[in-house]
Amino acid sequence: MPWWFWLLVAFIVVASYVGATSNRLDRLHARLDAAWAALDAQLVRRSAVTLEIAASGLLDPATSVLLASAAHEARASSGDGREIGESELTGALRAAFTDPDVAATLAADPSGVELLHELDAAVIKVPLARRFYNDAVRATLAVRRHRVVRWLRLAGRVPPPRFFEMDDEPAARLGVK
């Protein structure tokens, strides 16, 4: 075999390895985007339904103001502040729903019970979505650390993704199933 044949074989092997790694990275980035969209959607849903509950007039004014301002802060926060804003909304929900009467008051009203179900779903799905997102971040960072990815800059100019850390311990059971 002439020397250029072996050179060609080596080139093909390297190229297909780089191609496969690049594919893998693309797929991970797609998963990451989807996981973030899911988390973002759940967080937005949670603050939206909290605002609606606060504005419903079904709860006492103090609880309503507490929930409304926490939900507003969470929605207005962005960047690094988002983790703090959302954690504070978790805290406010926990504080408001410690008293089982609050959930009972909402459950007694036909429109209130719908809001309660929606809040319940959002409060349970936020930790799910966050865990799946952080798992996607970890997987992406692991592949981005590969030598081939670093040397050939397969990840392009996009900075590495960030974990999303917040307090999402759900409020005591909202009392709905």
Binding site: R24, R27, L28, R31, L32, D33, A34, A35, W36, A37, A38, D40, A41, Q42, G79, R82, A121, I124, K125, P127, L128, A129, R131, F132, N134, D135, A136, R138, A139, A142, V143, V158, P159, P160, P161, R162, F164, K177
Partner: protein
């Protein structure tokens, strides 16, 4: 929602994963979802209408024992066809690290994937050796579920990443409606035990010691035991005067297990450790039998700190005898514990568990609209 479930082990061979997939499929169908299951099965095996066979599984040595697995080009072809024809919103694979259908489906699917990890092992050579091959496939999984804290730890240590914890469900109705065995519990009272009799951590010796103390004062009291182990040997080793009062059923079917749990006045779980969850307690509670268990952390959680069942000091036969005696004498307290236990068991019913799992499906499946921007480091 259109859900595709993948079971890696032969459908008609009894096993924890198969039972889980079967119960989950049934519960999802009851919730109104479209469900299809693909699993290895013998060609002539009778299958429910929602189950598709991927062909026969082959017994191969894997991870220290012989497992029946399906792999290779034929299986992959069938999985591909099933995925294409099913057009699922989400594919839910079970035990994807085992070299069988679940891994193939993870490889071939291009829809969101949810995976449930069942096994808890302290060290898996197979997993360690195959780590880098597995990683490429497992990266495609959008949502991971572990059935126990131990399974979650195994996943974190061997494969990295994290999972949400959703425990196995219990078919509450199957236990609640089972008929007691003929001639049980009887007038003198009866105590039940379920588990391997030759595995010390299940605590059978502790129960026997306590039963001797109780039997001396209660002439009619009997003990009903179900679970694998050498029953002849165990029966011979009992003290002479107890032999007629202890009945060892050996390994029983699921239906007989439910009947056995309904046949006693008090169910005792004297485990001394190693329990990660305590599904036996839930089964007894679903059967509306009052429970007395050792105060392990896992049991304390399931029994709601003593509200849904009584607790005694782990490994203490005298304490067990005293607590059991008090309960056997107090019919009202037993009825109260049975009622609160049955209520508690509903929290772990398959219908509840399936709803939690559907929430995971919704979280991963509805996220195909990508509008938001992922937070990046340094921005």
């Amino acid at each position: 929602m259109r859900v595709g479930l993948v079971c890696p082990y032969t459908w008609d061979v009894p096993g924890g994963v198969q039972a889980h997939v079967h119960d989950l499929a049934t519960a999802l169908l009851a919730l109104g979802h479209d469900v299809s299951v693909i699993t290895p099965a013998d060609d002539d095996a009778p299958l429910p209408p929602y189950v598709v066979s991927a062909g026969r599984a082959v017994p191969v040595p894997y991870n220290g024992s012989v497992a029946r697995l399906a792999f290779g080009v034929l299986s992959l072809g069938r999985v591909r066809r099933w995925l294409r024809e099913g057009a699922f919103d989400v594919v839910h694979v079970h035990e994807p690290a085992a070299p069988s259908l679940s891994l193939l489906a993870t490889w071939a699917a291009d829809v969101p994937i949810v995976a449930t990890f069942h096994t808890s092992v302290s060290r898996s050579r197979a997993m360690a050796a195959a780590y880098s091959i597995l990683q490429t496939a497992l990266e495609k999984i959008s949502g991971r579920i572990a059935v126990s804290e131990a399974a979650r730890r195994t996943l974190v240590e061997h494969l990295g990443g994290d999972a949400v914890l959703i425990p196995n469900g219990v078919q509450v109705s199957a236990f609640a409606t089972a008929r007691p065995l003929p001639d049980w519990p009887g007038d003198g009272g009866a105590i039940g035990f379920l588990g391997r009799i030759d595995e010390p951590r299940k605590g059978f010796p502790v129960l026997l010691e306590a039963f001797q103390l109780l039997a001396a004062q209660r002439p009619g009291l009997r003990l009903l035991v179900a679970g694998p182990g050498d029953t002849d040997e165990a029966h011979k080793s009992l003290p002479e005067e107890l032999r007629s009062r202890v009945r060892l059923l050996g390994l029983v079917s699921d239906a007989d297990k439910a009947r056995m749990l309904r046949s006693v006045d008090l169910f005792v779980a004297p485990n001394t450790g190693g329990e990660s969850f305590g599904i036996v307690l839930l089964e007894a509670m679903a059967a509306q039998t009052p429970v007395l268990a050792s105060d392990l952390d896992a049991f304390r959680v399931v029994l709601d700190d003593g509200e849904a069942g009584a607790l005694f000091a782990t490994g203490d036969a005298a304490a067990l005898a005293e607590a059991a005696g008090a309960l056997l004498d107090d019919r009202d307290r037993r009825a109260r514990l049975a009622a609160s236990g049955a209520r508690r068991a509903l929290d772990y019913d398959w219908s509840t568990v399936a709803r939690d799992i559907v929430r995971v499906y919704e979280t991963v499946a509805h996220s195909s609209v990508r509008t938001a921007t992922v937070p990046r480091q340094g921005r």
